[in-house]
């Protein structure tokens, strides 16, 4: 059993309790008698999760502790942050400038973030997919995407 199982189980357990007692009553209205309650299925799934996560924490705590490898390596964390930033930038560009700008920033941005430095490749891998999409949807089919 890994140490990470203890805290992930505990976190999931707390999350499920929060959903069960806060989110469900807040987001699902109660209805009059005579129906299967709309809250029933979400409540069952959350109760199930609470029980199982508690069981997970319990068995993990009882078992022998193993030193597990690092959960997220430094490289993984860097990639996650970089790509998240690129998605955020692309969304902002999409919403406030244009879909084309968003597409360019997504393709060229992630190429740069992943370490590609050759200008020809960056231009090609950015330009070709965008050109194909434009050709198919705007020219050939006339179902403008935006």
């Amino acid at each position: 059993m890994k140490r990470v199982d203890i805290w992930s189980g505990a976190a999931v357990c707390v999350l499920a309790l929060f959903i069960m007692f806060v989110v469900i009553p807040w987001q699902i209205d109660d209805v009059k008698e005579g129906y299967v309650a709309p809250r029933l299925v979400p409540q069952i799934s959350m109760a199930f999760i609470v029980l199982l996560s508690a069981l997970q924490v319990f068995t993990a705590a009882r078992g022998e502790m193993q030193e597990s490898a690092t959960l997220v390596t430094r490289a993984e964390l860097a990639a996650l942050l970089k790509l998240s930033a690129i998605f955020a930038l692309s969304l902002i560009l999409y919403l406030y400038l244009s879909p084309l700008a968003a597409a360019v920033s997504l393709l060229a941005g992630s190429l740069l973030a992943l370490g590609e430095r050759r200008p020809v490749l960056i231009a090609g891998i950015t330009g070709v997919p965008i050109f194909i999409v434009w050709l198919v949807f705007y020219r050939l089919l006339g179902t403008a995407i935006v």
């Binding site: 084309l100 434009w134 403008a144």
Partner: protein, 329 residues
């Protein structure tokens, strides 16, 4: 073959450039329109359909788009924007520029009935302009062919003798119908939820439901299903002998007509041009073949008739839903 593609044959060089420019800059939607009503239309028109591809409204809408493209001489780009029964597409349309280049093809129910059922809908019929109506769906209560009742009166008598019979409900509207009938006649009916039109047909053909509210697709199965009452204000073309729910004295007749909806403030000249182009659906052979295969009669209305119809329906639906005690959720 190529001439069939919306953008290659019929379009002018200018509209290609316009489409290219629209993509290259991609901000046309954010700029105030500079288009004049005189030379309208001078670029492709975007037509929203509030359902995914493959449904009845989608089929009619694509047929209409083709007729409009032929009439107006510019391509019509059909964009499916499904969600919340069309309310999502309508919310989006409300924000578009009223220049006649963005329109929506949908049943009138989205503006004159849905606001009474969903509290999260933030528009009213007055928030849009209407260029006309094309077809009317043959909505009615349908039953398996061998069911021992042929009219709403006979159904009520049968349901009284058979408590716990099953009604298949596809929408808040169909639930409203059975609730109203059951309340008035003192029936004990089990309302079974259905998730889709095909599930509804399944329930009829498999005889799991004794009655359903159908949007008209059951007419495709004349050997297995029958209509016992039309819930529209008119008798159905496909079943002229079956009475309407208003004739039976319930006062619940609600029409669903496919309507060309535009953002509020669209110049009347543009609406007029669209309305005239829409009238061609009455004579277009290809369009007639499509709707007759789908059992959807053409009942054209021009822009003024359409606006009046929407206002009338809105008032009538308001009365029906208030009487039924339905609060928007």
């Amino acid at each position: 073959m190529n001439q069939g593609f919306p953008l290659s044959g019929a379009s002018t060089r200018r509209s290609i450039l316009a489409a290219g420019a629209a993509f290259a800059i991609g901000i046309t939607a954010f700029l105030p329109s500079l288009a004049q009503a005189d030379d309208y239309p001078s670029k492709p028109i975007t037509l929203y359909i509030g359902y995914g591809p493959g449904g009845q409204t989608d089929v009619v809408g694509r047929g209409v788009a083709k007729v409009l493209a032929d009439q107006l001489g510019v391509p019509i780009n059909v964009v499916n924007k499904p969600g919340a029964g069309g309310a999502l597409a309508a919310s989006q349309l409300k924000k578009e520029a009223p220049d006649g280049y963005t329109a929506m093809f949908h049943t009138n129910s989205v503006v004159d009935a849905d606001p009474f059922m969903s509290a999260r809908i933030n528009f009213k019929p007055d928030d849009f302009d209407y260029a006309g109506m094309v077809t009317a769906f043959q909505q009615g209560l349908a039953a398996p062919k061998d069911a021992p009742y042929d009219s709403i009166q006979e159904y009520v008598a049968w349901a009284k003798k058979n408590p716990g019979s099953v009604f298949g409900s596809l929408s808040p509207l169909s639930k409203m119908y059975i609730d109203q009938i059951a309340k008035r006649e003192g029936l004990d009916v089990n309302v079974m939820p259905l998730a889709s039109g095909s599930e509804m047909i399944n329930a009829l053909l498999g005889k799991q439901a004794a009655l359903v509210l159908s949007g008209g697709i059951h007419y495709r199965y004349p050997e297995e299903t029958k209509t016992i009452v039309a819930t529209t204000t008119f008798r159905h073309v496909s079943a002229p002998d079956v009475g309407t729910i208003d004739e039976a004295g319930y006062g619940l007749g609600i029409d669903a007509r496919t309507t060309l909806i535009l953002p509020k403030g669209t110049p009347r000249d543009i609406l007029g041009k669209l309305s005239t182009a829409l009238k061609a659906t009455e004579t277009d052979e290809e369009f007639k073949a499509i709707v007759s295969a789908a059992d959807i009669p053409i009942m054209y209305m021009d822009l003024d008739q359409a606006a009046a119809e929407i206002a009338k329906n809105y008032a009538k639906n308001k009365a029906i839903f208030e009487k039924a005690g339905i609060v928007p959720q």
